[in-house]
């Protein structure tokens, strides 16, 4: 293992300390074990709170997206491990102004179990909560079994859109409904070239040949749909586009936002090479791309690879996507 760290058991806590030291205007440490980050101004009177949570190792997901027009609080687990029930309940309390709290996170069994328990706990304190699960990874299950799909980079759109809706002082029901619509409209596919190493494990999460790639691999190294020789950028992008377009057919005049996301190690240069191909294909279809995002938004530590996300827009989603927001990793 070749990583810049101190003791592996301090990895997450030291990362949180650094985040708060660098961005005190956005992140405040909270919770009995210090496993919750909160916007310093939360809870905001009258506003629906939005919380998320999940394992570390994916920055800026999850905790990076706290700020105006985005999320209010986040519970943080160890690398690739769900946070416990307590930090999740603490995050909900910290985000609650009395208007209710939306739990918005990726579709993973451990996170669901713990967030449900946290929701039951705060029910005793008369805090109203709702849940929207992001399940956008098209390679993890068929469209017919959408509820089994994992949540990946599409979470960024859901955070942005739900956060913008909550900033309008909409009700818990309204924020939940639009978050669900955003989640339903997000479709992602990834490709991995190299694995990553969880610090406490000390060895790579999977093995892959020097000249191989795997289409559809999940952000924790979950198996994808096809492994084969590494192809040129345009061919990889073409294969990913085919998978996405089979899931969400796009027609002339449709409006869509596109996220080309690095899984960690892949440089911006390569993301732009792929974006160029996506833009050509969508342009030929007569599809309009709105506010594309290219960069490191949802990572898997130092994994080499990228993901491609479509967020299909209607007028409501587009307005919310373009509304102002501010955090260290996303500004509109």
């Amino acid at each position: 293992m070749k990583k810049i760290l101190n003791r592996t058991e301090d990895y997450v806590m030291e990362m949180l300390e650094g985040l708060c030291a660098a961005h005190p205007a956005y992140f405040k440490r909270s919770g009995a074990q210090g496993r919750v980050l909160v916007r310093p101004e939360a809870p905001i009177a009258g506003k629906v709170g939005i919380v998320t949570g999940g394992g570390s190792g994916h920055l800026p997901i999850f905790t990076g997206y706290l700020g105006p027009g985005l999320l209010d609080a986040c519970a943080i687990g160890e690398v690739f491990a769900s946070p416990g029930v307590e930090p999740m309940a603490e995050a909900i309390r910290a985000a609650n102004s009395g208007a209710g709290v939306l739990r918005l996170y990726g579709n993973y069994g451990g996170d669901i179990m713990n967030f449900d328990m946290a929701g039951e706990t705060v029910e005793f304190e008369d805090i109203r909560t709702t849940t929207v699960l992001v399940a956008d990874d098209v390679a993890s299950a068929s469209l017919a079994e959408r509820e089994k799909r994992r949540g990946v980079a599409g979470m960024v759109y859901c955070f942005k859109i739900a956060g913008a809706k909550a900033a309008t002082m909409a009700s818990l029901e309204e924020v939940t409904a639009v978050a669900q619509k955003a989640a339903d409209n997000c479709h992602t596919v990834g490709v991995a070239l190299t694995p990553c190493t969880v610090p406490t494990a000390g060895r790579p999460t999977f093995t892959i040949g020097e000249t191989e790639m795997e289409i559809g691999m999940g952000i924790h190294g979950e198996p994808g749909v096809r492994r084969g020789p590494l192809r040129p950028a345009d061919e990889i992008t073409e294969e990913m586009l085919k998978l996405l377009l089979a899931d969400v057919p796009l027609n002339s005049g449709d409006r869509v936002s596109v996220l080309v996301n690095s899984l960690g190690a892949t440089p911006l240069e390569e993301l732009y090479i792929c974006y160029r191909y996506v833009a050509r294909v969508l342009s030929a279809l007569g599809v309009n791309i709105v506010a594309p995002l290219i960069g490191r938004y949802a990572t898997s530590m130092e994994m080499t690879g990228m993901s491609l996300t479509f967020c299909k827009l209607d007028a409501e989603l587009e307005a919310l996507l373009l509304a102002p927001c501010d955090c260290p990793f996303l500004r509109v």
Binding site: A81, G84, V85, E86, M113, N114, D116, M117, E120, T121, E123, F124
Partner: protein
């Protein structure tokens, strides 16, 4: 013992569990180690240690006291059994919230609420050879009894009977199911844990 379930009864049970569960931890770890990750005894000891810390401050409201107990187990991380126990206690907490005394005859109803919540959360069914089967047997055994000592006695018998009934049956849930035929004669560690818990309430 009082004639109703109160916060005091819960406090008494926590004290009794402390005395008797420590010895059971290694036995449970061993059985669990043969089938799963071997952390069942540790989960329970940690959970009961948290319970001891909370016991002096349990509120009189039975529901809120049960919620505190559930939270003691949610503080034990990364254990399915701990999460399931907490889920069951929380369901019972919901059903008793706002009451300072609950008739013992309501125990089967509370177990029924707990079973439903645990089954929903863990996606387990009756017949899977898990703690759910033993709890269901306890639910039936306590039906119609209005006195805790009689309920405990009937419950121990019911769990024993369930464990015996399931010998020769495969595990259908959790990591244990990969053992196939080798698991037939082994007891479910979760059922044994429940038996030890109830025994400590004699």
């Amino acid at each position: 013992m009082t004639t109703m379930l109160t916060s005091n009864s819960i406090r008494w049970a926590i004290g009794s569990l402390k005395e008797k569960m420590d010895g059971a931890a290694s036995e449970l770890n061993e059985l669990d180690g043969a089938l799963g990750d071997g952390d069942l005894g540790v989960t329970l000891s940690q959970g009961f240690r948290h319970l001891q810390e909370d016991a002096p401050n349990l509120p009189d409201d039975v529901g809120m006291a049960l919620l505190k107990c559930a939270q003691a187990f949610t503080r034990v991380t990364a254990s399915t059994y701990g999460t399931l126990l907490a889920t069951g206690m929380m369901a019972a907490a919901k059903a008793t919230r706002g009451r300072n005394a609950v008739p013992w005859t309501e125990i089967p109803q509370l177990l029924s609420a707990a079973l439903k919540a645990m089954s929903d959360r863990g996606k387990g069914q009756l017949g899977d050879k898990t703690v759910l089967d033993a709890l269901d047997a306890v639910r039936m055994a306590t039906e119609g009894l209005d006195e805790p000592a009689a309920q405990v006695k009937a419950s121990i018998h019911a769990v024993d009977q369930t464990m015996a009934d399931f010998r020769g049956h495969p595990f259908r849930r959790g990591r244990a199911r990969i053992f196939g035929d080798k698991g037939l004669e082994l007891d479910d560690p979760g059922m044994l844990a429940l038996k030890r818990i109830i025994e400590s309430l004699v």
